[in-house]
């Protein structure tokens, strides 16, 4: 476990308290209804947590990477659906952090100071893992771009104030023809499509976005034309660990729930034999190891060291751990597992392996890094980066 500074500890504690007060008591309700938890945003205003990644000069909290991960782990512990709302909003603002001018940053970050949220619009029906295959277009006309297209599986899309939308300014140029734009809610022609009902993270809003001749000022272009995919990839790199953090939270929660149930069902010792005990031990090993890969990646980022491989590793490992631990929890706790909130953790875990870059894409990133250089033959090697 990382050594946390007093400030980090106190932020983590504040997050725990918020989760216990606002998220945990409401998790089951919103999981059942699938409605968007507006009360979450309302309740977040005092802490300004939706601006946790916003730099101080724009009124934000400017939490470092590790601190953001601490917060997201707590939110994931409370409800991964509500945690996704925060994570996805931060994801969208990361694009602006990476490529925005100060003016763009000011405009994009302002709503977040009021617990309004952002949304990242990359995916299309024909462009999932193949993000470059998108067909949305942005045609330059005078000092505007006119956007047309359909985006799908867009988190926060139905309730965001600001969006980062990717579209082709030069369809013939393939991946180098994609550009990123800030789009504001309410622009004529920009509508919210159908809402998807999901297996899990049901409190998170997932929608289609429809763009029909949406006029966007040229000053909303992020970076330069053709830099869109580069921005998207850098953004996802930055945002991957957020999913790892949510995953660690889910896994810890599933484990804690099992332990609580074991105590309740078997008051006083001895607990039922080694098989059950050792399965719990294995779950603990995985959760702690997962947390370590996340914290390591975050410490690298905070130190300004390249961390793309570690980012992919922690996203993959933590989400796989959440899936394994939550599935084991359901099976191990038997019919209690099947009729309790343990089912939610298993359902919530599944998406962690899929969104923000499937674990198969992550393995592409990792395997490239692994195979980049052949290690020197023979002598013992130090683990290099």
């Amino acid at each position: 476990m990382s050594i946390l500074s007093p400030e980090q500890k106190s932020i983590q504690q504040a997050a725990k308290e918020f989760v216990a007060k606002v998220i945990i008591p409401n998790a089951a309700k919103f999981d059942k209804s699938g409605e968007f938890p507006m009360l979450l945003l309302e309740a977040s205003k005092p802490s300004n947590i939706f601006a946790m990644a916003v730099p101080k000069e724009f009124g934000g909290l400017n939490y470092d990477a590790l601190t953001q991960a601490l917060v997201l782990e707590e939110w994931g512990y409370g409800c991964a659906g509500m945690g996704t709302t925060l994570a996805a909003s931060v994801l969208s603002m990361d694009s602006v952090l990476i490529a925005g001018t100060d003016e763009q940053k000011r405009r994009y970050f302002k709503p977040m100071l009021n617990a309004e949220i952002g949304s990242f619009g990359l995916t299309e029906p024909g462009a999932g893992s193949d993000a470059a295959a998108g067909t949305a277009t942005a045609v330059k006309k005078g000092d505007e771009y006119i956007l047309n297209g359909t985006k799908c599986w867009i988190t926060n899309g139905g309730f965001a104030t600001v969006y980062v939308i990717f579209a082709n300014t030069d369809p013939a140029a393939g991946v180098k023809g994609i550009s990123a734009f800030i789009v504001e809610r309410g622009l004529p022609g920009f509508t919210i499509g159908t809402t998807d009902h999901k297996l899990g993270i049901r409190a998170s809003n997932t929608v289609e976005l429809l763009l029909k001749d949406v006029h966007v000022p040229a000053t909303n272009l992020l970076g330069k034309e053709g830099e869109g995919m580069k921005i998207a990839m850098k953004t996802l790199d930055m945002a991957r660990p957020a999913i790892a953090a949510l995953s660690v939270g889910i896994a810890q929660r599933a484990l804690d729930t099992c332990v609580a149930h074991v105590h309740a069902r078997f008051p006083g010792k001895p607990f039922p034999g080694q098989t059950l005990q050792f399965k719990l031990a294995d779950m603990q090993i995985l959760v702690e190891a997962a947390r370590e890969t996340l914290h390591q990646a975050m410490q690298l980022r905070d130190a300004g060291v390249p961390y793309s491989k570690e980012s992919a590793i922690c996203k993959t490992f933590c989400s796989d751990v959440a899936m394994q631990v939550s599935a084991t929890a359901v099976s191990l706790m038997g019919s209690y597992g099947y009729t309790s909130e343990l089912g939610k953790y298993m359902r919530d875990s599944k998406i962690m392996q899929i969104y923000e870059g499937t674990n198969q894409i992550q393995r592409l990133v990792i395997s490239r890094a692994v195979l980049a250089h052949a290690p020197a033959a023979g002598a013992a090697q130090k683990a290099g980066k």
Partner: protein
């Protein structure tokens, strides 16, 4: 109560047959057998008639050695007994050979008042067996049946023609061939499936049918069977919005005269 016989063919399930893309040849190595589709309707029609009017129905099949796999299947669908002829000649048999064999068998195990067939087999679909069989037996043949009823010795039916329907009736022995729309075969219940093993089956040896060698030699020979793969136009609509794609699709279909 008319004595009924239903003739069926045991064919390969075309769903299991793979077409090799290189030369369009067929790979049937994993194909399971099934009762030919229209024959299934014929068996069901016979079963319905018996349930309504009483009596019993026999089944008759001519095929290669694999025909033994069909017996329980057929018996689970209504027939009280199944007669089977397993012979290598079935491999290359055309409709004439098939009719020769079936007619000889019927002369041996019959007579029957009503003989039911499917309109055509699901593999070859020659649509000749019923008519040839009737000719050999010297009795009338009613084809393309979408409705059938038997009242005593009179068989009434509705034939489906290209431009309408025709009501017909026959008194006395008759061969009929049925279309798939005549009925929807019911799913055999568990008891019907399990009861099939208790029903009798009887092998008829082809040598005992008194046929001449040339009766078993097809006049038309099959040289090759190839798969048919429909060529797709593979038109892609890549507009920037779903609405534009739909508009382009609509225009495309209209220009082809499809809508």
């Amino acid at each position: 109560m008319p004595k009924c016989l239903v003739c069926y063919k045991w064919t390969l399930d075309e769903q299991d047959i793979k077409i090799k893309p290189e030369d369009l040849s067929l790979d049937a190595s994993r194909a399971k057998g099934k009762i030919s589709d229209f024959d299934r309707n014929a068996i069901e029609e016979a079963a319905l008639l018996v349930e309504k009017n009483g009596g019993a129905v026999d089944a008759l099949t001519y095929g290669t050695a694999t025909v033994k796999q069909s017996l329980k299947d057929a018996l689970s669908r209504g027939p009280a007994k199944v007669y089977w002829i397993a012979d290598a000649s079935a491999e290359s048999a055309d409709a004439a050979v098939t009719a020769n064999v079936l007619a000889a068998a019927i002369r041996k195990i019959g007579p029957y008042d009503l003989i039911l067939c499917g309109e055509g087999s699901s593999d070859m679909f020659n649509q000749q067996t019923a008519a040839r069989l009737a000719a050999l037996l010297g009795i009338p043949c009613l084809t393309f049946l979408q409705k059938l009823s038997g009242e005593g010795a009179v068989v009434s039916a509705t034939r489906k023609l290209e431009d309408g329907t025709e009501e017909v009736s026959v008194t006395g022995p008759v061969v009929v061939s049925v279309l798939s729309e005549i009925n929807k075969p019911r799913i055999p219940t568990m008891k019907q499936v399990l009861g099939a093993s208790k029903k009798p089956n009887e092998e008829i040896k082809i040598a005992d049918l008194g046929l001449k060698p040339e009766d078993l030699v097809p006049k038309a020979t099959r040289s090759t069977v190839k798969g048919f793969v429909m060529q797709r136009k593979n038109v892609m609509f890549k507009e920037s919005s779903a609405a534009d794609n739909v508009a382009k699709l609509k225009a495309g279909l209209a220009s082809e005269g499809l809508i």
